[in-house]
């Protein structure tokens, strides 16, 4: 599928010696443009790697929503997109207020985002449900007053 196109790869100590590509973005407070820019860059990279359009779109949506969440709710954070042959992992880690009730936050329509975010077209309680819908596996760890780690995994079968 996209084997043999690893010219952009670099070895990574964290990996299980699999060839991989890692994209990283810093996310600053109220840095709203980084979400769309990151989603756009990730989409273009995945397209270049030859992933199927559905997987590309799902991963781009996860990135967009996950980064928006960090911008809206945290002080700062980072995004990592790790691409290995059989899956793509989207990881956001932030320092911020954390999520007191993850189950509630997963509910479509539940939101704590301020009005200015809603005026921008986000913050309507769709972010986490969207991420869940687009990923095969979703893990969220959060500590109130400390921060949140979100890990979404999209598996790449021969179909996508």
């Amino acid at each position: 599928m996209y084997e043999g196109r690893y010219s952009m790869n670099r070895p990574d100590k964290e990996s299980e010696s699999k060839p991989q590509l890692k994209l990283e973005f810093k996310i600053g407070e109220k840095d709203f443009s980084v979400a769309g820019d990151a989603a756009s860059k990730v989409k273009k990279t995945l397209q270049q790697l030859g992933l199927k359009p559905e997987a590309v779109r799902n991963i781009a949506i996860i990135v967009y929503e996950a980064v928006m969440n960090v911008i809206i709710h945290a002080n700062y954070g980072q995004l990592k997109v790790i691409i290995v042959p059989d899956k793509v992992v989207v990881l956001t880690e932030d320092t911020g207020m954390g999520i007191p009730d993850i189950e509630l936050a997963m509910k479509e329509g539940y939101s704590t985002a301020p009005l200015e975010i809603r005026e921008m077209g986000f913050g309507a309680g769709m972010g986490l449900p969207n991420i869940k819908q687009c990923s095969h596996k979703l893990n969220i760890k959060s500590q109130v007053g400390v921060g949140t780690v979100l890990e979404a995994i999209v598996y790449l079968s021969s179909k996508n």
């Binding site: 769309g36 359009p53 779109r57 949506i61 921008m120 077209g121 986000f122 309507a124």
Partner: protein, 119 residues
């Protein structure tokens, strides 16, 4: 329905992407919530919105939208139009408000996006 037909129906002004007006439009999706577009819009859809910020352009890009219509005569800032241009996303501006814009497109044969196959 092609983008050039939509321009006629909506009495729309082309803000960018004049060379892309032969594009076929299969469905339309009208809303001011980007998350909703990311959740429910099909690909190759026409996005109809009254928001003019950069998130509209990025959302259109992620969803492979055929173009964006701004209702109520709205126009985004120059740098946002430039961003759309770079991403090959045609931008149109119609004087009609959201309801009338969607209504006109619907009676002229444009279908809505489907949330699932049963709709």
């Amino acid at each position: 329905m092609k983008l050039k037909d939509i321009i006629k129906v909506l009495d729309a002004e082309v803000l960018c992407g004049e060379h892309l007006l032969e594009r076929e439009v299969e469905t339309g999706f009208g809303c001011d919530l980007m998350s909703e577009m990311l959740a429910f819009a099909n690909s190759h859809t026409l996005l109809i919105t009254s928001l003019t910020n950069e998130h509209v352009i990025h959302t259109a890009e992620i969803m492979d939208a055929v173009g964006v219509v701004f209702v109520g005569g709205k126009r985004p800032a120059k740098e946002i139009i430039r961003k759309a241009e770079l991403n090959n996303i045609p931008l149109l501006s119609t004087p009609f408000l959201m309801f009338k814009c969607c209504g006109l497109l619907f009676v002229n044969g444009l279908k809505g996006c489907m949330r699932d196959a049963t709709q």
